[in-house]
């Protein structure tokens, strides 16, 4: 759906950009309410993981809520009902999302485009219905009273600041995994598949396997984000499994910039700010979200980061 070029301005400038972001992440809990910052990080990781499948592999999943929300329940089950530590909760979330992703992906990647979107949506709805019907999930009330616990047995996450830095480290690990995947030969093949699938196939690449691997990786990291959010918010909500969440992650990715590394995080920040800002105004948040969606699709399909990069690239090449 979009193309990816090398970042402009050479490695030094890129290093500077990354450094700035790391500094911003370190200082964030002193600038904004830590719980808000944690939620932004979780959504940013979710959107970045989603971007791997949409932005790089070119497949629109309309069912990523199942991985994000499902992992939240898995993490809750492990930490609250089994009394295990938060990092094991995260692991359980990742494992659940990866397995679910492997099952869904195996069926979905047989088709592309619209059909792919519909199939992933169908599976996510199935997971949603299961969460409503099964007893232990708490049904409409969601999975409540998840303990934050102690990370690695020492760091008490009850303190918001400790919880924030825990979230931040997990986010960085997830983000680095994605960075590694995008800049590896695997990531290049994904882009080749997106641009011209028959050609990639004729060059001898196992297209189905690459797609499935990308899908599972994207699902697993979405699960990481969901499990993390459940632990810091101490709550897994039913709407997180619904298709509006799948829509929201598309919006974050699209708004920030498809197929750009930073875009989804920027989009997540904007969407989270929008939702917090309009929290007291009833359904206006739905209206505004929809309007932003329409505006995004009609006018700036490259997203904020994508548009900025285009402008910067143009100035570099003197055009």
């Amino acid at each position: 759906m979009s193309r990816t070029e090398a970042a402009p301005g050479g490695p030094r400038r890129v290093l500077f950009a990354y450094g700035l972001l790391v500094a911003l992440g370190l200082g964030a809990p002193f600038l904004v309410y830590p719980v808000f910052a944690m939620n932004v990080l979780c959504l940013a990781l979710f959107a970045s993981a989603f971007n791997l499948i949409l932005g790089y592999a070119g497949l629109l999943s309309f069912g990523h809520a199942a991985f994000f929300g499902g992992a939240a329940y898995a993490a809750g089950l492990v930490t609250r009902d089994l009394g295990l530590s938060p990092e094991l909760g995260l692991l359980a979330g990742v494992a659940f999302a990866a397995l679910l992703g492997a099952g869904t992906g195996a069926l979905a990647i047989r088709r592309t485009g619209i059909a792919f979107a519909m199939i992933t949506l169908g599976f996510a709805q199935l997971v949603h219905f299961l969460a409503v019907e099964m007893g232990w999930t708490g049904g409409e009330d969601g999975f409540q009273r998840i303990p934050r616990g102690r990370a690695l047995g020492v760091l008490d996450l009850q303190h918001n600041l400790a919880a924030y830095y825990f979230t931040y480290v997990v986010f960085l690990l997830g983000f680095a995994t994605l960075h590694r995947a995008i800049h590896s030969p695997f990531g290049r093949v994904l882009r080749a598949i997106r641009e011209n699938e028959p050609r990639a196939l004729s060059l001898g690449y196992d297209v189905a396997r690459h797609k499935l691997l990308a899908f599972v990786l994207s699902a697993a990291l979405s699960g990481l984000a969901g499990a993390l959010r459940a632990i810091v918010n101490q709550f897994a909500a039913l709407p997180d499994l619904g298709w509006h969440t799948s829509g929201a992650v598309i919006l974050m990715t699209l708004l920030g910039g498809l197929g750009t590394e930073m875009g989804p995080s920027v989009g997540a920040l904007l969407v989270a700010a929008l939702e917090t800002g309009l929290a007291g105004f009833g359904s206006w948040v739905t209206v505004v979200t929809g309007a932003v969606f329409v505006a995004c699709v009609l006018t700036f399909r490259r997203g904020l980061v994508g548009e900025v990069r285009t402008v910067v690239l143009r100035s570099f090449h003197g055009g």
Binding site: M1, W243, C296
Partner: protein
């Protein structure tokens, strides 16, 4: 026992009629415009809601609403096609899905703001009150009417598309719009009219649904996901596939509700998954 079974099957048949009507519209739009109309649920909701507003605020009844509401929703949809969807031509068809998704959110949100989230009930029109006592069950007249009208509309649409000159244009446009345009057919106009027709069909289903289900702003988004499963299982863009699968799935749902109620709302997606395992292109689909 047998009463309960037939009761659930009738309910399934009614749900199936709505699935069929909605997926028919989706299939026609998808076939020609290559757009998955995510706003279909919102257009269905608009149908039910406008009928309710007409009655509650202006005292205008069912028989006027069932003509006027689909017509006005269809016109509004034509405007939307001209102003918004038209700009996305030539782009990846996923953008069409995202645009209509955004429009659906706006419409649903606006109605939630204006009317709240609680349900409103719409009375059954006086002419269709009462029912027939059959040997094995009681058949409310209005429900029989809904099934009959839906079947008639589906069969009529199918005949128009398969047997008339207009339908042949539509099928030709689905195969190759540029070639059709080269033959002198006004394809952009066809796009607009087809989108309007599909949306009007959704609004028509909405008006008919108003006396059966609660009229709420979210009624569209709950039904539309099931309809998407129908469309995938039936084969994307296949007209006959969507009608048959819609009705069939409604019946299967009713049967599930009789045998094991909690599974009823998930059965559509299970059926979809099984169909995809056996036939990746859907029941009536052709692999592209």
């Amino acid at each position: 026992m047998i009463q309960a079974l037939f009761g659930q099957l009738l309910l399934g048949l009614i749900n199936g009629s709505f699935y069929a009507l909605l997926s028919l519209g989706l299939a026609v739009i998808f076939g020609l415009l290559d757009v998955v109309n995510f706003a279909h649920g919102a257009q269905y909701m608009l149908g039910a809601f406008l009928a309710w507003i007409l009655l509650a605020r202006f005292g205008v009844g069912y028989w006027v609403a069932i003509v006027a509401v689909p017509a006005s929703v269809g016109l509004a949809a034509m405007g939307m096609e001209r102003l918004l969807l038209r700009r996305l031509q030539g782009l990846d068809n996923l953008y069409g899905l995202l645009l209509t998704f955004g429009v659906a959110l706006v419409v649903e949100g606006l109605f939630q703001n204006a009317f709240g989230i609680s349900g409103n009930s719409y009375p059954v029109p006086a002419e269709l009150k009462g029912g027939i006592r059959l040997p094995f069950m009681y058949l409310p007249l209005y429900r029989a009417w809904v099934v009959a009208v839906s079947l008639f509309t589906c069969v009529a649409s199918w005949l128009v598309i398969e047997r008339t000159r207009l339908g042949s244009y539509l099928r030709a446009g689905t195969e190759n719009p540029r070639l059709l345009q080269a033959f002198g057919v006004n394809v952009p106009l066809m796009f607009t009219v087809t989108y309007g027709f599909g949306a009007a069909l959704a609004a028509f289903a909405g008006v008919m649904a108003a006396p059966i289900y609660q009229v709420t702003p979210s009624m569209g988004s709950t039904v539309i996901v099931v309809v998407f499963a129908v469309v995938v299982a039936g084969g994307m863009g296949s007209i006959l596939g969507s009608i048959v699968t819609g009705l069939g799935l409604g019946l299967v749902e009713g049967l599930t509700k009789f045998l094991y109620p909690p599974a009823a709302s998930a059965v559509a997606f299970v059926v979809m998954a099984i169909v995809l395992l056996v036939r990746p292109a859907g029941f009536f689909g052709r692999t592209a």
